[in-house]
Amino acid sequence: MKKDYLKFIICLLIIFQSGLACGQQQELQDERVERVPSTIKEEGEFELESLELKRRPADRFDFGDESSGYLTIKAWEALGKKDWPAVLAYTQKCIELHKDEAKKQQDSLSAFPPQDKQSAFEVLNNVGTCYFIQAEALMRQEKLEDARWAFQFIIDNFKYAQCWDPRGWFWKVAEVSHESIDKINKLIRGEKIAEEEVKPKRPASKLVLFDPGSETIVDYAKYGKFENVGTKDYHYVITDQAALARATGEGIYPNTSSVRKNPGYIALKGSERLKGEHWDFLYTDDMQANFYKWNMATEPQGVKQFYIALVLERAGLIAQAIKAYYAIVVHFPKAYGWTYWHTPWYIGPVAVHKINYLTRRNPQLGMKLIGAKIKVENSFDNDIRNDIFICTPGKLVQAEADELIPKREDLSKLKIVQRIGGKRIQLVKYENGHWQLLVEGKPFPVRAVTYTSTKVGQSPDEGTLGNWMKEDFNENGKIDGPYDAWVDKNKNNTQDKDEPAVGDFQLMKEMGINSIRVYHHPPKVSKKLLSDLYKNYGIMTIMGDFLGAYTIGTKKLDENGNPISDSGASWYDGTDYSNPQHKKNMLASVRKMVNDFKDEPWVLFWLLGNENNYGVANNAKKNPRAYYEFVNQAAQLVHELDPTRPVALCNGDVLFLDILAKACPEVDIFGANAYRGKEGFGNLWGDVKEQIQKAVLITEYGCGAYYEGKSQELAEDGQAEYHQGSWEDIKYNMAGYGAGNSLGGIIFEWLDEWWKAYEPARHDWKGQFYGPFPDGFMHEEWLGILGQGDGSQSPFLRKLRKSYHTYQKLWQ
């Protein structure tokens, strides 16, 4: 009898949650959806043993302004705490209030809306997410049948709902629901949920060119005229297209014919291997199909040429790839594409840097690009209409191997013309405009890492993130990550006798790291720990304040009635940089940071913000001028409180660099989180030099050690290659080299964090957004240069990836 009663309640709950009647026809749904909640309300309280659901009086819940955004955030938090009554209360409130609007929005769509229109579908996204949270709650309670049914409801009814991830991307709720259903089906069948199999999307094939062209370095002057070089009116006019096509060969503009005569293509034409979108071929190993698909793709010519070049590069046909990249510089220097965030991607400058990278890394080719420069004026906003391209195509020439390595200028012969900071930590500018950071009079190239040792299963989204500076899960009196971490040499996920605790601090020291990045907001920073890091391991700390980003901090008030370290804004309202109270709160937070830590010898310099200009939970993107003026105000305050150290800003790449240049004279170091690919950072150094003449620090860069369809070993190769290329670019723009404004970089990050994509206890492999990574996607949970194995020994186990050893060599 009790069992039947429970079944009935489960059914009610599902109806309540999903709006569908168990096993009933569609026409019954609405009636039941409307009726069931009121039934529950009449009861006041209901109990569901297996789900441990207990309804609490409504006044025990904080519904805030009852907006769908607020309720969804609260629901996530409740899910993390496994507070099932709260999950039910917040999700159901959201669904009750906003379901109709969500349905309207869903019905208005025939495809996923573009990113810049997502705000118009916020209610759909939040209601869809609330249903998802309910389904997730059921799954976590191992109510598999019900969870499966609830996930299916989302797929059937809210398939265009997307969930905004605070790290900056959307994920598709229905897509993840599908994955959950697959997983549930396996569990129901009693199958083990194994790690994803490494399966290539397409079988590998070797690309053999039918017509490589008659010239390795094409003499463009023979086939056309370079007009208005070095101006915005640059143009290469082809005078003999047929001859140029013969010289360039297959796949390189203007040769569009040879590939169609390639016997390989003729054999594959119409076959299954060429079925599908060209984008889906891009990072596969079927090089033949990839090359043919991209040659046939109907993309703008510059975009198409870039990806043909990339295919050639991936296929190991480097000389032809260089030729293809150079064809962009000659013919399409003004080409553009768009990043995942719909910021412009300037293909011409990227092609120049690709060529520089490839010629440097392949000295056997004996070629280099000289004199090429594509400058994009007005490029620091999202409007490509105002862009002006100043193009100098330069020339590909033959070169000896020793000409390919950048030469360093002797700094000792140069005068220092500017000094920022105190005697101990000083930022100096040489007469040639180059910048260098000195600590105790010695050059200090910033070899930093973002450090945290998050235990698998914890997640800030669910309010379960602990404080790594204090956690001592093995209760041995030592902080876990810093001192108890051990290297799983044989990768068996067990601590063997020859795998003693060594600690991250020691591992960092052995790698060559000299600083870490930390923000002072709660959880509380341990001075003792960071002091030990400095004294015993020689590693300093870059101390930061988020400056209202993500509204991170605490609402707890200090003795003056101000939030301890926060803008005071709620997540869904976001920090407003023109709001006097928010600004006052943030300045108080900055003041607290400096006062708390300025006397600590281990603080290297101060860092403000974390890519706030992307506008996540703040209005910096909408009102950049207000934001950067406030940054300047904050930097000025830091200088007043601590004139002994420089102040850095952490920007999202170079977006709004022109505004920043005018608004932020008090900022000493321009920091940028930049993920531009294995070749490094392209025009970033030159852009900053031209706009603000300040020192530059790459405040985040990195690449996941995951490569879809490839083994872990190959994935680590890809990650290591990315880091090596990035660091070489950082190095070759330090004082004495190149732009001379690079101070160093902060690797993102030390250790994989498993909460970033989806399930905190699972090492999700799925890419979050597309970008210039080995398999074309960012894998946020794999960014660590150290891994956590299968997660069972977290937070202690460390797997040293190849990039760790790469840095050891680079930093020797």
Binding site: Q241, P254, S257, R260, Q301, I384, R385
Partner: protein, 429 residues
């Protein structure tokens, strides 16, 4: 508008020339005039009682024959010979599009090609049903759109022939078709030809069916035309529509087209060879008027494109391919043109205000099983408010098979408030 000499005049002249040559006893292929299409002089049969010498001229895939001597035809399967003829096998029952615009008289007595009657079609172009086009299928059984069995097995026949003429001699039929009925019992074949400008006198047309699967054909014959091609309507006649088997008939090869070769000259120009059917990206953002009369570059009309830039389908870009045949994304076998003689593609364009940006103008590049043989383009182009000619260099390109004759693409990022622009005189030279 700089109109070409209509093809039928060229054809007639060539036929006259050939007949003259033949009558003088010479049987060698004729040399081409520089700007004219090649002529195929074919000895059709070596087995018949007499030699049939046929001069063939391809017009949009349809063969117009001028026959001399006795046919070598060995088998005949009639669709229509005379009203009430006992061996008519299909009925003119499948009315399509603006059916209110169509009248048919199947026992028209005046001037039949043979026998006592021919079929008279009157197409008013009033767009009664708002479709802008109309046509008729000859079906078996009548009104069968594939839901019933009843197709004939025509295996063993290798061409469809019919005779046609226009009332005035300038009527344009957009396409003729064999098969193509879908449904539960679909036809085994679908092949179409056109557009065709009819002459005033009876002319024989042939659709080559060599290599086609004719095992099940319920749509024996159809024609379609449009108000775009016949703005004032059209009256035309058919007679002696039948399937035949001709021994020795070979699969048709595409012949290189002569230059210039028009994509678009004027709305009603029969020399337009491609149709603006390939809408891409945010197709909901686009409107096209191919008969815009205000300030064309030449002639009476130009093309007006209105791009709203609202990203209706979420793609953020949009474009149109001018295709042959319409909607051919590379799936149509044996279609398209051989434009090997072309050295460049030129067109005229202007923006409503100036500054409208078109990211790419191009030709070719459609993939699929029967793709374009090459691609070439220019862009981005910022349009001026005055007409300006643009040229796409085709030197060194393989133009042997072109199905996407012209294309433009633009996007919302460069035209956030949309764009209005005009095109005219798109032509291969």
């Amino acid at each position: 508008m700089k109109k070409n000499l209509p093809y039928f005049i060229v054809i007639a002249a060539l036929i006259f020339l050939i007949i003259g040559v033949l009558s003088s006893g010479k049987k060698t292929p004729q040399a081409m005039a520089p700007d004219e299409k090649p002529i195929e002089l074919t000895q059709v049969s070596e087995q018949g009682p007499a030699i049939e010498l046929t001069q063939r001229k391809q017009e949009a895939g349809l063969t117009l024959e001028q026959t001399e001597g006795v046919s070598s035809v060995e088998k005949i399967f009639n669709i229509f010979t005379d009203k009430s003829a006992p061996d008519n096998h299909y009925a003119a029952s499948g009315w399509m599009g603006d059916f209110g615009d169509i009248n048919i008289n199947e026992q028209y007595m005046q001037n039949p090609h043979s026998g006592t009657t021919s079929i008279q079609i009157t197409y008013s172009a009033k767009e009664t049903q708002g479709a802008g086009w109309g046509g008729i299928y000859w079906q078996n059984p009548p009104n069968n759109w594939g839901e019933r069995r009843g197709g004939f097995d025509l295996t063993g026949y290798n061409k469809l022939v019919f005779w046609a003429r226009g009332e005035n001699g300038d009527e344009v039929v957009e396409k003729f078709k064999v098969g193509g009925i879908k449904g539960t019992y679909p036809d085994s074949v679908e092949i179409e030809m056109g557009p065709v400008t009819l002459g005033k006198e009876w002319q024989k047309y042939t659709i080559n069916l060599v290599g086609q699967d004719l095992s099940y054909v319920s749509g024996g014959f159809s024609w379609v035309t449009s108000s775009r091609l016949n703005p004032n309507g059209a009256t035309f006649y058919f007679d002696d529509i039948r399937y035949e088997y001709e021994s020795g008939l070979e699969m048709e090869l595409t012949l290189a087209e002569g230059m210039p070769f028009d994509v678009y000259i004027d709305r009603t120009s029969a020399s337009n060879h491609f149709i603006a059917s390939g809408w891409m990206g945010d197709y909901g953002d686009l409107k096209i008027d191919e008969g815009w009369t205000a300030d064309p570059y030449s002639g009476t009309t130009c093309i007006r494109i209105v791009y709203s830039g609202v990203a209706s389908q979420g793609a953020r870009w949009a474009g149109i391919f001018w295709q042959h045949p319409p909607n051919n994304w590379g799936q149509a076998r044996g279609k398209g043109y051989d434009l090997s003689a072309a050295k460049k593609l030129t067109f005229w364009a202007r923006g409503e205000k100036g500054g409208e940006r078109v990211e790419e103008f191009k030709m070719g590049g459609i993939s699929g099983d029967y793709p374009d043989s090459d691609v070439a383009g220019i862009g981005p182009v910022a349009l001026t408010p005055e007409w300006k000619q643009y040229t796409i260099d085709l030197a060194g390109k393989d133009l042997s098979h072109i199905i996407g004759g012209f294309c433009f693409a633009t996007n919302v990022d460069v035209n956030p408030d949309g764009a209005v622009f005009y095109l005219d005189d798109i032509r291969y030279e």
